[in-house]
Symmetry: D3
Subunit: 324 residues, 6 copies
């Protein structure tokens, strides 16, 4: 059934209680503190892919555990002065690909930093950043959702979210960037990371999560059997005695909890027929979001959401916000 | 089986006899002559989608039958003087979408004209151009492959290919374009149209068809049951008495025949596991292609072909060709 | 889930408010008036397919816009005097095929007129009638559901329903037909057309829509993703800004609205597991139907509904009605 | 791949050696002799389904083991004198349904006897004839293909083919039938039974098997995994030690062997993309067929074969044969 | 949707009214009385499959109608004295296979009797027991669910459940078995048979049905379209006039009704995402179960349920029960 | 097509040239030498899962890199003296589960050591052994096939195969084991590991690989798109520039190369319809196998191969070999 989730009316009011561990903030403070203890060492090397209207840089910086994280930085050639910067996170399975995969924001006049997702980048866009866990990896279901899932300390997204917070710091350091104007965005997993950063970095200028993943995990596993949430379900189907432990870990990484801590203006989007990131999991985060917020609802769309209609909305939203 | 077609060795030598009607050139000369009898009336209206590093224009011109065809023209903001122009044709089912869907070539420093495909644009990217057949449309299988298929005169692609030839003429007219440097490109259906234009317009500067569709129809229907070739098979499955008539019509629209008439340098690409546009149908066109040519072979790829690896190849190919 | 829609209890009471434009009747009066302004010019040419117990005629008449619509007329050989006539409309994608595809009603002793559906007839039974829109066809999703959908004036079913009303007029003209005894019937799309005719032609003798399509469109798109309703959803998924316009057009073509205007006795049928024409969309029409009515409910059936069990019911229903 | 079998050229020459047990004729002579030892006791009871232009009879006769086999007999109302009779056998899973399911041949002027297939008739058309094996049924894969498959004596089709031979004898007895003019026909399983009867009953007037099933079993299981041949493969996948025994049994029931014994004129049909009854299995029977023969080849068709195009061919073929 | 049935809260309270014919007990008393009128004639023949730590016997006994039913008996080599015996019934489509398919209970120190399921054993594990109905088999949908379904007297499971009751009697007779300690168990169909035996044999020591099939049929057909319940739905879809008769028969074979008669301690298991045996059908039986009972709930599991986690639970449950 | 690979005749002669790097033996000698430099420290802790006829031990030993590898050891309770030991490796995605998952060989009178596969054990049977790469993990396709695939040094199976060699050494150390009688076995991935061990450990007594995976990788990716070989193809589809590097790495891990070094007697099995481990990849290893060898061919089986028919063959084969 196309409308397999709550009705739009119900969604707009859907505010489920948050599953939040008492040491949530502590956990993240400690995690980020440790990461920041290592100098970020951001490098921007010019690289030529034949794009004559855009300056392109191969970016490297120290993320979680001081490990090297890759990215691209694109700068529109004509623009001068301090420019706002959009930091973008990537959907599940993809890597940073090439700069030509990321032309929207430089064409729109912004500096654009795209962060590679560690370990990912072999399912659609190629990635260049290894994942380097602190310890041996417990048995996991294929994919990244259950890597290290038996503890928040070892969980994969602890590393990714830390990388992402660091990416924002990289952007601020770039000479031509207006460091008060860092915008975070991304779709699906990129949207989930966007929410995490919005919750963890108080001075982000705006957040634009599209059809965000990594929210309201338990409900997600109960109403969809699409990838990638299914990885969690599959893991629980085998490790029948570890279900509680799994969801205890995930409570440290739930977009709903990050949303409740965010302060910057946000533009969300959602597809009412999205069986990858079901609308109730998106609205759970949206309705808990603590900053000023808007959401664009796409009635007949699945996980593709608003597509480039939404990109236009985002450009407009950002232009407006910056012109205010 | 992933390798369901000929082996690479066989593909490289695969030169099937061409099914070519004796009045092929006549048919196309007359068709284009008629179209050109109507003034092209190209209009370029500036339109703002928030892209501050690219000039964007809403394009309209008279295509087949003097009907209005839409398109986008993108011009990189910094560039001056006469600039080469890439004319792009779109894959099956898609329309011109928005300018943000087409940022590669302006970012690479080219003027970029994207032609809407009449009637299409409701399957992935939205389109804005109606299809206006001369006469009533005979019963057809859903889609565009069998619209008017009982005669070359009424066949849908007669109108599309004519539009495409006209689009090249539009590009030449644009003030900032270097009219000796018109490059045609496109993937899948866009690749098929690219071949048609390369065969019909002698002075095109270069052609870059990716995983081209609309080639070697009969074999295609015999070795793949993927969309969109399947539309032809389904039609023939119902209209059992019209199989010969169908393929007689298609012989006027076969990329293999256009390839044999093309003269400009070409860069092809192919995926060896492509069940949408099987490799033997691509190599049939490539091996018959009469101009200087290269092909990039992607062994483990399906219809996505080289993806942005191939875009990089195309940028390099073009930069080299223009710098010679 | 097999029972994906309302329960039978709920279905029997399901009377959703009608989405009905204020100029609904006007629209149809004008449409039919225009059509009737052109002489119907019905032709019945004997044609031999080897059926020695049935007289078969190739029928042609002027439908919407004065365009030629094809059909078959079958007359049982033995019968004399004025005979009731069953006018049948065809399911989505099919055309009139051959007379041997339509032997039920002549075998049952009725004259039988089968109307070809313009443009259709390439998916299962072959069709012979072109579709001739007044104007260019806006981009559409493959199929017929979204052809011209941006305005009631250009919408495909405006032409089809008008053809169908004219087909009834053709039947009345046939010499051996008892013109007071015109019965309309059809399954799926044919059922939807049946409802339209029942609502538009006051003196039809009886209507027998089976598992009718073309009813309660919005709900249909929300609870099923089966073809052909999915064509509407897919269109809306791409043309995200035209959803309201689409459903505004469809309100002129909704079987629910036609049902509310019908007066003749009706026999409906429905399959409770039908995901093509979900039971709530059928009951919406049935419960709004304004004439005397019965419905046969098939609990374990999908879109095949009652199959030939229902054909027997229809024969019985008609014999009874005529014998009264 | 749509063309998954031999090419048409190869098919036309395909004459694989026959797997034929030395006591094949003995086996069948004994089987039929036993069956004929029991009086056939054919009963024709008029039954009213509202068909006013056809006389319909509920038929019962003694088939294999003296068990009651059901059928329908339809007689066109207008016809007089001795009339040829078409005996029809039904596709796999179907039963005799209702007379309205079988109107072609009476409409074409023939008497029509439709034989129910014992045990079948719960997959599409309902059946009314139980299957009554002589002994307990060994474990079998769901369906009918492996019922009793461990010996020709207990195999299901021994009973069915015997019923079919008896059905021809029933037709000959019917008063209005011209007993020299018994034609056998059927599609798929019905085509396989048709071949069996053509091989077992020397004086049948003509045979018209469409896309026949039950031919060249071993090859079938090797090139298709479609139902129903897959039932044999699945059985062999479990009973790994009984593969030879299975094919030894099947050699008594192979349409290829019956074809080699047939004498009457035959019209075959085949779909080149048929993955249910692959073309090489059909051509194996056709090329071994010992009587005068023609075959209609449908290039773009799967198991639906020629559909009603073929029905028209059959009517023409029969009219011609009878008029000679 | 993974949670397609009631919520766990609702499931725990789900106590639907029982559909129980008034002569239920009579029917079964008579059935068993008839069966017991024939001497059971249990034979245990040593058979060598190379298992040097287990004694293995090929078992044969008289089941329903005095027909020979096969089984295996495994006895752990080291154990002495009277030993409890686990009698196991097999899932749908499987047969007794080989002793190596059944090593759990002998390894755990129990005697183990595995009963072959008549007619089954060609879908995964091979079977060796024919099904021998009293009378001819009415048309049935492929499989065993609708064999003889038009009357409780001829229904397939009448024979199977009777065999199972007899198997318990066989176990009691085996010299080394402690006849007060017969435990019945099985998964899916084996679980359904387990419930039947628990309801029909008062002195069974314990019952351990896993994800039981054959419970609450009507609801099952309404909320799942998975095999094997779908066989019933498919049958009803064809035999549209026999739906009530079908469910009247099934009421004699419903695990819910057997559960309400059971007295021994039971350990159930259920998967909350099981679309083969939906949780509400399992809880319907569990909640009606009249003896002491426990249930293990596996949240993220489908029909595999608890797998070997549950086997460990069963071993523990049994050890505890026996040690009490 | 069920027979999608070479014919049995061709398979029996299929001896493709080996892709073998010149430092193959060096690589493995060094790898094993390093591993053996760390004391194996095998621990066998009794653990109670209620199996009263089998002694069960939780095994831990130092595998690759000195990392802790888990396993189970099962000892039949009645047996005395030095007993042969079967070391078993597990299929892809599974872990050691519980001892009750592995009862065959103790029931047959052997000691049985089951090795956990590092990192795996979340797809069907649960695993308990983490994977601990030496370095950060490059981007990989979900699963284990491409973990570290850019170099033989970092490739995942380097660690697994080393663990497996060590597991044999563990078995030899166990007090009750006859250290001259170590047999290695496993199905699918377990079969691939079996081949690796047979090639790397000269004094293994026998090897019994069933439907072995990890053989003849390149051909596998060309003729099947089933998991898990597809992981390699998917990786190559994204990392289009690393195809040669991938297959260069895999040449160090190809069962074909290990087979050519093996000396002990071997019993293989293969399913001719196996699209997971296509028969030509199995026969490539079998035909290159350098020791005495037999193969059981299962004609109608897919990846399940001989199932327990093959287990019986293995028991017989082993009993015979040991009794010689």
């Amino acid at each position: 059934m196309p409308f397999f989730d709550l009705s739009l009316d119900e969604l707009q009011k859907y505010l489920p209680p948050r599953q939040e561990p008492s040491d949530f903030d502590n956990f993240w403070n400690n995690t980020l503190q440790e990461a920041r203890a290592i100098p970020i060492n951001a490098r921007f090397e010019p690289i030529d892919f034949g794009l004559r209207n855009v300056e392109t840089y191969d970016v490297t910086f120290k993320g979680y555990g001081g490990q090297d994280i890759k990215g691209w930085l694109l700068k529109p050639k004509g623009q001068n002065g301090k420019i706002p910067c959009v930091v973008e996170f990537i959907g599940y399975g993809g890597g940073r690909g090439f700069p030509i995969d990321w032309l929207t924001w430089s064409s729109a006049g912004y500096i654009h930093l795209v962060m590679d997702t560690r370990g990912q980048g072999s399912s659609f866009l190629k990635g260049d950043t290894p994942d380097d866990p602190d310890a041996a990896i417990d048995p996991q279901f294929p994919g990244f959702m259950t890597r290290g899932i038996l503890s928040p300390t070892t969980y994969y997204y602890r590393r990714v979210f830390t990388d992402a917070v660091r990416a924002v710091e990289v952007a601020k350091q770039y000479p031509d960037v207006d460091s008060d104007k860092i915008i975070v965005t991304g779709g699906s997993q990129g949207g989930g990371i966007t929410l995490a950063v919005a919750g963890l970095v108080p001075d982000v200028f705006a957040a634009m999560p599209d059809v965000p993943f990594l929210c309201h995990y338990r409900r997600a596993t109960e109403i969809t059997d699409s990838a990638p949430y299914i990885e969690i379900s599959k893991y629980c189907a085998v490790h029948r005695d570890k279900v509680d432990q799994v969801f205890s870990t995930l409570s440290y990484f739930d977009g709903v909890n990050f949303a409740a801590r965010a302060k910057c203006p946000a533009l969300f989007s959602v597809g009412l027929m999205d069986e990858v990131c079901p609308p109730s999991t998106v609205f759970a985060a949206y309705n808990h979001y603590a900053g000023p917020k808007e959401i664009r609802v796409y009635t007949y769309n699945h996980h593709e959401g608003g597509g480039n209609y939404q990109t236009l909305e985002k450009i407009k939203f950002l232009h407006n916000l910056l012109d205010e």
